[in-house]
Amino acid sequence: MQRKKIDLTPYLLISPALIIFLAVVFLPAINAILMSFQSYDLRRPSRIGFIGLDNYIAIFNDSLFWQSLWKTFLWVTFGVGFQFILGFVLALLLHKKFFGRGFVRSVSLIPWVTPGVLIGLMWRWIYDGNYGVLNDILLKFGIIQEKIPFLAQQATAFPSVILTIIWQGIPFFALMILAGLQGIPTELYDAADVDGANGFQKLVRITIPMLKNTIYVSTLLRIIWVANSVDVIFNMTGGGPAYSTQTLSVYVFNKGNALNLGYASTMSIILTLILLVVAILYFRNIFSSEEE
């Protein structure tokens, strides 16, 4: 009896990537789970050891954790929400024919390829309370009467960092939605014209339904991305003033920087579990389209 021989080539081809990936992603992820059950503070090396659920209990009682979670929710809702709306408008504009369109399409993507650190620092300079250009513009137009220290006071710091993340994310949505728009057959619009539909009707009845999948996938990706983003906030405010701009990712990063690795790991696991809901939706979409 002869068995059918299995061709090992594809497995061999995949193995280098797989080995690296398992070593740098899965191994650390398992390690993070183990660390979450330990007291692992590098400034207190003698106390490193398993402590059961103590970290989880401590986090449950940590009011700063709950506040950061709430901030993350606001950060994602307003950040991604406005990125989407403005990105959608920009995509509709870039889909029209006009002089210099190719150039405009290219340059409007620049914020997307700019390092997060630089984004944070550029906006920090714009928002500056003494020499910031935003204050100067608002004063000149008579919108404000005196300078506002945007990032130094609690009331304005969080909206200011959200505006920055919106700025960063507009190009991504515009890019995705523009590609989606280009895939809609023009006959649909021609038919709607024959039926006498106006621009708004065409948008609601044709454009948005045809873009459903594009919008869905890019929004899910963006939610995960924005929720995980550390560099923009960290370089603008470091999470302050008085933790008013500290999202969960920034909180984890700050704890990690303070070398309390056990506590930081525990919080990052909670963050992962929350984002898992979004990730599962994303995977379902990917796998269902993969089978087609």
């Binding site: 995949i14 630089l118 594009t214 560099d231 990917i286």
Partner: protein, 278 residues
């Protein structure tokens, strides 16, 4: 009359909104540039000028001479270039397997690579820090190269298998019927067509490694720090050196922009393909 009305409506519905968007999206870069070429006394004079009264490249000079910006630039180049080469090599093999073979567990293996979207950077950051500290590569360029592959390999595989799937298999099959081996068919037929896509993927990997901050700030020290960390370090205890910082910012994004404009077409095709179908 009708023509004028049409033109006016185009100005209000297309040109003016586009200009507003462009001002919003590009003004920060303009401002960064203007700041970088202002002399220090003009920067902190209290009166804000929208174009420098006298242009001066003092900040750039200071950045390279007293801050030694060339060092972090070299570090960034080493890390980004090695990450790109490693990621492209292993990903190309894997992408070829995913797009040209049918095998058991393919879907799950592909799924494993996609899970990387799920892990927050900060989740991997902490244990990677501990691991690298234990095996003694913390603060070396290897620490960054390895940690960047956590997102560059899955991403490259995804992008490259997308490009490969779009290439017709018939040409390779024809070559193999003529007696070429699989490897020969790949090198002679697939590779030349795929080359621009590989370049685009490489450009993206390079850009993300060049731009990365969160891993870089924890895994480097004075000697091995990369550009983003160096930029942040210009914020000292005595305040921020905005002149040098903006000069550094401009230098940082120039290579990224150049690469992006060259790779843009293929890159946007590949990136949007996954989300757009269906």
């Amino acid at each position: 009359m009708k023509k004028i009305k049409f033109k006016l409506s185009r100005i209000f519905t297309i040109y003016i909104p586009i200009i507003i968007f462009l001002i919003f999206l590009l003004f920060p870069f303009y401002w960064t540039f203007v700041t970088s070429i202002k002399p220090e006394r003009e920067l902190y004079s209290g009166v804000i000028t929208y174009w420098p009264k006298d242009i001066n490249f003092e900040s750039y000079k200071k950045l390279f001479i007293s801050f030694n910006f060339l060092k972090p630039m070299t570090n960034s180049l080493i890390v980004a270039a090695s990450t790109t080469i490693i990621s492209l090599t292993v990903s190309l093999f894997a992408a070829y397997a995913f797009s040209r073979y049918k095998f058991k567990g393919k879907k799950y293996l592909m799924g494993i690579f996609l899970t990387n979207n799920m892990f927050p950077t900060v989740l991997l950051l902490i244990p990677l820090y501990a691991i690298m500290r234990n095996i003694g590569i913390l603060y070396t360029p290897f620490a960054l190269m390895l940690s960047y592959t956590t997102f560059t390999i899955p991403f490259s595989i995804w992008l490259l298998s997308g490009y490969l799937r779009d290439l017709p298999i018939s040409l390779e099959e024809a070559a193999m019927i003529d007696g070429a081996t699989r490897a020969q068919a790949f090198i002679k037929i697939v590779f030349p067509v795929l080359a621009p896509c590989i370049v685009a993927t490489g450009a993206y990997v390079f850009m993300t490694s060049w731009n990365e901050y969160v891993f870089a700030v924890m895994f480097t020290n004075e000697a091995s720090r990369t550009i983003p960390v160096a930029l942040k370090n210009l914020i000292g205890q005595l305040g921020v050196e905005w002149g040098m910082l903006t000069a550094g910012g401009i230098i940082t994004i120039i290579p990224v922009c150049i690469m992006f404009f060259f790779a843009q077409k293929r890159l946007t095709q590949g990136l949007t393909a996954g989300a757009v179908k269906g």
